[in-house]
Subunit: 200 residues, 2 copies
């Protein structure tokens, strides 16, 4: 590129966005950001991942946290990534049912606009029943994104079948991988993320 | 430690907190956090650095951004680090005079409580007149922190005399270093940061 635009990107979501469990303190967000910088993008990344949050909680705080971060620069982007906490059972019921998760996703997309949005779906965990719910939630999210014309990156199929991801999650807290798992997840997201950055 | 507490730390401040200019996407915050994890701390770090913000702007958003991040865990901490933007001249006047910067610092300390607070002072830039103002602002901050019983880490004296820091800042945008400079700044902060984490 001749004159790289001054990109400001907010990554909003849950503990996977925050990189919980990665002793290298990069997570997938740090890795895909470094990959973009390495390719010449002039980019400021803000990590707005908060542990334990559902889609609704992220959507609730999104607008007020984006405002100070997207007030400068000349290309504003928002990456949304959540869903695992929605599918956790509390007293036998999911914290957020998939229709409500999808409504929250659409609310978050609205809060992010006019910034361009990319949605990264939830990865697999170490519980097959919850994985079934995550697979289903990913389909809800993919359909909603297609309807909105927002690009969607599925991470479930790749992580559920990735032996490194599965082993680190199992040996960790049942949810979060370590450095190798986050590198694997970054590998899933990197190509569609870079392709999205290249769109104008 | 036998049972490591579940530490939640927010780093609130400006572009130096965000790690602007570091192609490794770690900045000094990622590096001191990784050092703490390496020493056995069970720690979730949230980076709330925003480019261009003065002390007043950080203090204004602090309370609402800390709330969702310090609602879980059993040891809450806040690191405050700002000041360089306060000392930038606009139409011949500093954006924020040192007495107002100090009032904003005290307001931020209040917003952070009851979390334990550490203040990291502003580093040197590539402009000697501004460096004079930064040295002076650091003295205001140090005195206010001493008065409040809040630990203060000076970074000015070390960075103004660090040839790697000075060269990377000069060859960069005049304010931000690259990877080696951030590693040097992390080296200044790491020991007092780890000592502060060890206090109960």
């Amino acid at each position: 590129m001749l004159t790289a635009p001054d990109l400001r990107i907010c990554f909003a979501g849950d503990s996977y966005v925050a990189g919980t469990g990665d002793p290298a303190c990069l997570g997938w967000v740090g890795r895909v950001t470094a990959a973009a910088v390495d390719r010449g993008h002039r980019l400021t990344a803000y990590n707005l991942g908060v542990r334990g949050e559902t889609s609704c909680q992220v959507a609730d705080r999104l607008g007020r946290e984006l405002a100070p971060r997207l007030s400068a620069g000349d290309d504003h982007r928002v990456v949304l990534a959540f869903g695992v906490n929605d599918t956790v059972l509390v007293d036998g019921r999911v914290r957020v049912p998939p229709t409500a998760s999808t409504e929250a996703l659409l609310r978050a997309v609205d809060a992010a606009r006019p910034a361009r949005v990319l949605v990264v779906g939830p990865p697999a965990v170490d519980d097959e029943a919850q994985n079934g719910r995550l697979h289903s939630l990913g389909e809800f999210f993919a359909a909603a994104c297609a309807d909105q014309g927002v690009p969607y990156v599925d991470t479930f199929d790749a992580t559920v079948a990735d032996s490194t991801w599965r082993r680190e999650v199992r040996e960790g807290d049942g949810f979060h991988p370590g450095t190798a798992g986050y590198a694997a997840l970054a590998g899933v997201v990197e190509a569609p993320f870079l392709a999205w950055l290249a769109t104008t």
